[in-house]
């Protein structure tokens, strides 16, 4: 039996689509449609007579240019997968910039917590904040948007953690990652992300699939073999990401995600 899956995502869908294009036969139990749209365009859609149709020119162009369609027949699929869409560990790192909590290993080493720029928060406040941040991320918004239109299974896959290249090369926006690695807090951040993303997805009527373990290094980074050589979300999928990009994964990562989805749905993968 072939499972018909509609993949929806922002620029991070490119790695999954590229993996499929590279070795489609590996997932013979899956018949996919890839619907990519940049930024928040996936939300500029509505359900009309069982179809997901664009409600803006930008969304219509994205459907046409990137997937060659003008709508998605919601009844033509057995499941929906939302991929990327800022469901990332980055939101936990953002929280870590300004806050600490008692579960963190680094807290035990502090003699004067009040002198730290970051505020001490209760575990409950941290958990609720993390879930709240995630629930407002595009992936969860798209999941809720879909849930209002279909009863079919909806899966949200984790966006890849940032590239391990940051260990060797300076990149902006990852000071919290470096701080967590130095302080020994990375494993806690990783676990917090996975647990909060799971709950946020459950609340949205979806299932969260965490980042495949073998693609992760040092808890909060993605190993370079899964990041180097990523492509942008374009019609032909051949434009490389800028050299300094650290957030987009490559086709090898996309393949790991497809393996994960195949396993989740119990369909054949070679």
């Amino acid at each position: 039996m072939t499972l018909r899956i509609c993949f929806l995502g922002n620029s991070h869908i490119a790695c999954v689509r590229q993996a499929w294009q590279t070795e489609a036969g590996r997932w013979s139990g899956i018949a996919p449609l890839f619907v990519g749209a940049h930024r928040n365009l996936l939300l500029e859609t509505a359900e009309v007579a069982g179809k997901l149709v664009p409600t803006s020119d930008g969304a219509a162009r994205a459907f046409a240019d990137l997937a060659g369609i003008d709508h998605v027949d919601l009844n033509a699929f057995d499941a929906f997968v939302v991929t990327g869409c800022l469901v990332s560990l980055g939101c936990i790192a953002n929280l870590y910039r300004d806050a600490r909590w008692l579960d963190l290993p680094s807290i035990a080493a502090h003699e004067d917590l009040a002198s730290e720029p970051a505020v001490l928060m209760s575990d409950a406040a941290v958990q609720m904040t993390a879930e709240d941040i995630l629930s407002r991320r595009l992936g969860l918004r798209v999941a809720r948007h879909l849930r209002d239109m279909t009863t079919r299974p909806i899966v949200v896959t984790s966006q890849a953690r940032v590239s391990a290249v940051i260990e060797q090369a300076h990149r902006p926006g990852v000071r919290a990652h470096h701080a967590a690695l130095r302080a020994g807090d990375a494993a806690n951040l990783s676990a917090l992300f996975d647990s909060c993303a799971s709950r946020a997805c459950r609340d949205a009527g979806a299932t969260f699939l965490p980042q495949p373990r073998h693609t992760i290094t040092k808890d909060i980074l993605t190993a370079r073999p899964f990041m180097d050589g990523a492509v942008r979300l374009t019609a032909d999928g051949s434009t490389p990401q800028p050299p300094r990009d650290i957030t987009h994964a490559n086709a090898r990562y996309g393949a790991a995600v497809l393996d994960q989805i195949a396993e989740h749905f119990g369909v054949q993968a070679v």
Binding site: N94, D98, L113, A114, V119, L120, M121, A125, D132, R136
Partner: protein, 351 residues
Amino acid sequence: MPHPYADLPDTAFWKKGVDEADRARFPGLYQPRLKLTPETRVATAGSCFAQHIGTWLKAAGCSVLDAEPPPRAMSDVLARRFGYGLFSGRYGNIYTARQMRQFLEEVADGEADPRHVWKNGHAFRDAFRPNVEPDGLGSVAEVLLHRDYHLERTSRMLRKAQLFIFTLGLTEAWEDIETGRVYPLCPGVAGGTFDPERHRFRNFRHGEIVADLHAIRALLHRFNPGMAVLLTVSPVPLTATASGNHVLSATSWSKSTLRAAAGDFVADTEGTDYFPSLELVTQPASGGPWFAPNMREVSEAGVARVMSVFFEAHGMTDLIGTARDTRDNEDDSDRESEPYCDEILLQAFAT
């Protein structure tokens, strides 16, 4: 011989100062004795109404201190639920002068006391701010750790403060007989268990409040000897009274006493002032009604009215627009905008 009233300003006469005055602005009603600029480092505390003052000052770009600022990634709604950003510290509502005095004594010299940790089911609460953790914490030790942290952060904040704005809310409180500490809420309302052998009702009198205000100022000067004190009295009526009087009468008593105490304290004390938010909202001559239909919560228009008089008196009227624009930038039409008021929990018993 001319009598003493002959040379008094218009504001001294009802006809000129009220009847024929611009009652949208009430010129001369508030003539600040204390200097406030956007650069003045301000700390706020007090009852529910104090939240409005802090919110408006912050939104106007004033330098309002925050001992425990919420993480940037935390939503405004969630931050408020956990007591962040409501006042200059995460101390929750401080309704009485006695509670303020005791809190400052604790910040200055004390440490968290396990006798003031309330247990309800599996949750433990800080009795002096029972609602900053909506679900409570996991143990007494965790409550004490967070309270010690809170005290230390507040201490550091107060050392920077140049102006302390304190909004007096109530004269009534419940006291722990053993320690003499008063709580913001009666034990049993939002945690803890009421024990008539351990807890007693207090309705503080004018003299006690004046003494507490002097003590507050002295304590604040231990953190910063030059710190000025601006008092206001919340116009928000009592949710409930344990005085035995009708709640309307108890409200009148409480607000009158607070107003008189604030006036006496300011009249006798350098580096202090009083801002008439109570008058601006509750005096019939002030127009209105500035209350919501339940006649208790001050309406948005009422708050705006009060703050416009405040800003104009301090020569910062041009910042008011900034305040509103900034506040309305929230991209969330469902956001909660009502002040967080512990005392409102008493309303639950009014069925």
